[in-house]
Every structure is written in C-alpha cells, then in structure tokens.
C-alpha cells in the first residue's frame, strides 16, 4: 500500500515537472485528456461491467458544444466547458436510459447505434461545421482572470482537472454507491434479490462516466483549438476501449498507462511508419488479449499479490 502511495506521488511530481523536462506541453495535454477519457470509461466498464461501444459520442458532443459556445457565443472557457459537460451528461442520460435495459453485446450494440446517430448529427447539423468541424477555437482566459493562451497555463489547468477527476473516480468507487455498483457488477440477480433497483444504479454510473468523458472532450477542444468529426467517430470509441483494456480495466492506474501508451505510439510512430501505426496498435491489442488479459497494470497488481 505504501509503495502505491509513493508511486502516485512520483507520478504526480513527474506530471507537475513535465513541461520543465522538455516534454511538448500540447502532447502532454492531449495525453491527459485521453487518460481522463479512459478513466471515465473504466468507471463504466471496470466497475459497472458495462461495455459501451459509443463513448466517443460523449467525448465528441462535449467538444463540439464547448467549441460552439466559445466561437459562436463568445463564452469564456469555464462556462463553455461546463456547457459541454452538461451536454454530454444529458446525452449520457438519454443513451444510458435506453441501453441499460439490455445486457452484454446488446448493450454494446445499442450504445454503438445511438453514438452513430450522434455522429450524423455532428456531420449534418448547421452549427457543427460539417466535414471541417469547428476551427480556431480560442482558449480565452479562465474566469476572465487567467489567460490560457500560453501552453503552460493551459497545461496546469488540464492537469488540475485530470487530478480532480482521478480523485473523484476513486471516491465514487469507494463510496456507498460504489459498493452497490460493484455488487451489481459481480452478481446482478443477487443484487436484485437484496432489493436493489439495479437499473437506477447503472444509469447513475453511465451518466457519471458520460459526463467525465465529456469533460475530457471539452478540454481537448480547447487545448487544440478545434474539434473535428474524428472526436465523435466510432474509431475514437474503439480507441478508448483499447486504452482501458491495455492498461487494465477495474484498476485505477491502468487507463492512464493505456492512454499514455496509445497516444505516445500514435504520436511518435506515425512520424516513422505513417499509416502502419494502426496496424501496430492492433497487434499490441491482440497480444494484450492473448497473453495479458488483465492489462498491464492488472497483471502487475496480480503479480504483486502473489508475492
């Protein structure tokens, strides 16, 4: 347990110093946004055992909403992020309410179908910029006080948001609600027979996960200054599953490791091998499923338990 604490402290220290270590801040921010996205996804998959194939809908819809509020209505970043999060939360409520009626692969298919619907809205709606998305989204200044134009200021905002989400998810998992959620994950019929209306608990988990995924999307839009269809696309839903599984579902740190790995591979390998990066990531995924199913962090944790 103490080594876990030390590990967290070192990671946090590393994240705080990252810009001084010569790491490109925009890359680090992107990494943190995807890590946040994966953590949100893991809340649903790892602790609620719900496999969503459509999480990009929440990530992307919030990114679009935030960008639109900033460009078309000149909202400040804080309000626009809040707006984005509200949109993704509401969308999570709508999609979740339908999807949680089914289990397993049917649940996954419903999320996939409804997310595709959200994708087409983003493609066709008059205010989303169609194929181009929304470009030139200014970061503005936080609450009118802190200008975010410098990458350093933005980096620390994203880092703070990420840490808050991480702590929040830990709390959710270790809360009275989290206990019930884990019980439902472990044995649904038994939870019902103990008097729990399981669909309500699942819906709360779904909305929480969608909302946090939206926060990640909103931040990413502000970081990069644009939002495109790829943020709301099926492939992004696939990526977040990949990150979570690769790092280790149901572990707190796994999604971060998974996101770091995938984002880094994408960033650096695409310069060298171009389009082959997708194939390489696919191969890594296959290797993961075949030989270390619990994911990187999951396997490490299991190893440590054995000793």
């Amino acid at each position: 347990m103490r080594s876990t604490g030390l590990f967290y402290a070192l990671t946090a220290l590393f994240a705080l110093c990252a810009p001084m270590l010569g790491l490109y801040p925009v890359f680090m921010m992107q990494l943190l946004c995807f890590a946040m996205f994966a953590c949100a996804y893991n809340l649903l998959l790892g602790f609620g055992r719900m496999l969503s194939f459509g999480h990009a809908a929440f990530f992307g819809s919030a990114a679009y909403a935030t960008s639109w509020l900033v460009t078309a209505h000149a909202w400040g970043p804080a309000a626009a992020i809040l707006g984005g999060v509200v949109v993704s939360g509401a969308l999570g409520l709508a999609i979740g309410a339908i999807a949680i009626r089914r289990h397993g692969i049917y649940f996954a298919m419903i999320t996939l179908a409804l997310a595709q619907l959200a994708y087409f809205v983003c493609l066709e709606a008059p205010f989303t910029g169609g194929e181009n998305g929304l470009q030139g989204v200014p970061r503005g200044s936080l609450l009118g006080v802190l200008p975010l134009r410098s990458d350093l200021a933005m980096y620390y905002l994203v880092l703070a948001a990420f840490l808050a989400v991480f702590v929040f998810i830990r709390r959710v998992v270790h809360s009275p609600f989290g206990q019930v959620l884990k019980a439902i994950r472990d044995n649904e019929s038994r939870a019902i027979s103990l008097g729990y209306d399981i669909s309500r608990y699942k819906l709360v988990a779904f909305v929480l996960s969608a909302t946090l995924a939206g926060l990640a999307g909103s931040l990413k839009a502000l970081v990069l200054g644009f939002v495109t269809l790829s943020d709301v696309q099926q492939s992004t839903s696939g990526e977040v599953i990949l990150m979570t599984l690769l790092g280790g579902t149901g572990t707190f740190f796994g999604p971060i490791v998974g996101a770091a790995l995938v984002v880094t591979l994408q960033q650096y390998l695409s310069d060298i091998v171009g389009g082959w990066v997708t194939a390489i990531i696919g191969a890594v995924f296959v290797a993961c499923v075949l030989s270390f199913r619990r994911g990187i962090v999951g396997e490490l944790a299991a190893l440590r338990l054995r000793h």
Partner: protein, 264 residues
C-alpha cells in the same frame, strides 16, 4: 413469534392461486395452489424438472406468471418487480451460490444492510460512512461461523462457506419469508449438517420455503412438505403423510432420479 402483522386471516404468509407458467407450449408450473403457513419450514420437493425452481422464480418475480395470482400477507403481488418483492421481505437464495465474488465477506453482508442507511446513491460519500454497519455484519457472520473470514475476498472461500455467506447475507435482510433453492446441494456431510442447523436457527422468527433434494434434511426440519410433479402438486402434508402417499411413491420410484429415503 413476532407480533403477527396483517395477513391472510388463517395464518398463511403466502398463497398462490392457480399459478401457471407456460414456456411456448410447455407448461412448467400448472395451476398450483400452494399455501405456506407463517412460521413454518415448508419444503418443496419433487423429481428433477418438476418445476420447483420455476415456481421459485415466479414467487420472486424473476419470471412473470402466465396465469394465476400470488398473495403475500393479503396483498396481490403478482405483478410487482423483483426488487420490490425483496423489499417487502421475500428474499431468496439461488441454486448456485450467490455471493459477490470480488467483495470481501464483510462487504457481502453489508450490501444487504446498506439500504437501511439510504445512502446507496451517494457516490460522493466516503466508504467509511458504512462502517457503522460493521458490528451488525460481523454479528451475522458469527451466526454462520464466518467471523474469522470477514476480510477474505468471497471468491476465495470454499463452496460450503460460500453458501453459509449467502445465508448470512439473506439473514441480513431480516426477511419475513426466506426462499432457499437447494441450500445443501453439492455439499459434503459436515457442511450439510451445519447448513441444516443454520436453517433451523434462522427459522426462529420467520417462514422458510425451501426446495431441497436431500430427504434427510427435509425429514429433519420441514414442518410441511409439498410434492411437485410435472408442474403440479401431487401431495402435501407432513413427512409421514407424504411418504405414504402412493402417488408420491410412484413419482419417485418411477423416475430415474429416485431419491433415497422417500419410501423408507
């Protein structure tokens, strides 16, 4: 026995009227009129495939009956949801052990106690707010002899212990009516004895309806026995009465799954 809450006048806690369940043409449960007297241990027996588990699933609403009524304490609960029925005090166990494998033994029992705090949706509260329930949870664990295992993750318990944990969890709900689906199935002798004693203990202030194959257990603790065959009741009464019934003897001797003890 606790002060009797309002019930069907004649002391029956649950009653089914012409309860029927059909699965695309196959009648699994057919016009069953069953009455369970308050405070008794009532055993439901019958050859494999007689419809016992289906009947249980109907009572706990995991299945919707095709026809018929279920009356619990004078109220019609035929169309309620399973979780509602559980909150009314009808709590079931399952044929295969029903624990929450990745929670600790203590947490398993606490899940059943947790609803009393009304904080089950509070995702912002600390887990430590649940610790007020620990004393009661440990008490229940001691009843089933699991006190020493409180911090063990349930998946690591041996089978017999898992069933004991399941009973402790069910007891935590303080059910009026406990439905046990083959509580001693797959157990060695020692475990059977322990669980039988436990059931007897648990029956002190409540009614128990159990599906059971082990006739020794049934003979030892059941007050009333109902025999199901092909979805229908063929006999009902005390062990001695039922064992003498020619229909019952035929049902057991005629089936490949003849159970020892029924004709002795």
């Amino acid at each position: 026995m606790a002060a009797a809450p309002p019930s069907t006048a004649d002391g029956f806690i649950i009653e089914t009227r012409q309860l029927t369940k059909e699965f695309s043409g196959f009648v699994a449960v057919s016009n069953v009129d069953l009455r369970v007297r308050r405070g008794q241990i009532h055993a439901l027996i019958g050859p494999n495939g007689a419809g016992k588990t289906t009947f249980f699933n109907l009572l706990t609403k995991f299945l919707i009956p095709t026809r018929g009524q279920i009356i619990y304490r004078g109220e019609d609960i035929t169309f309620e949801k399973p979780a509602e029925v559980a909150r009314r005090g009808i709590v079931r166990s399952f044929q295969l052990s029903a624990v929450f494998p990745h929670l600790t033994v203590l947490e398993n029992v606490r899940i059943a106690l947790q609803r009393s705090l009304a904080t089950t949706f509070h995702f912002w509260k600390r887990e430590s707010t649940l610790e007020v329930l620990n004393a009661r949870a440990v008490e229940l664990l001691q009843v089933v002899d699991l006190g020493a295992f409180a911090s063990v993750v349930a998946v690591e318990l041996p089978y017999g212990r898992k069933r004991a944990l399941e009973i402790a969890t069910t007891l935590a709900m303080d059910p009026e009516l406990m439905l046990l689906d083959e509580p001693t199935q797959g157990m060695g002798h020692e475990d059977v004895d322990r669980v039988t004693t436990l059931i007897k203990q648990a029956s002190a202030n409540r009614t128990i309806l159990m599906v059971e194959h082990n006739m020794e257990v049934v003979a030892m603790i059941a007050d009333t026995i109902t025999v199901l065959q092909r979805g229908q009741i063929i006999a009902s009464g005390s062990y001695a009465e039922v064992a003498r019934n020619p229909l019952v003897i035929e049902a057991y001797m005629g089936s490949t799954g003849a159970e020892p003890g029924m004709t002795r």
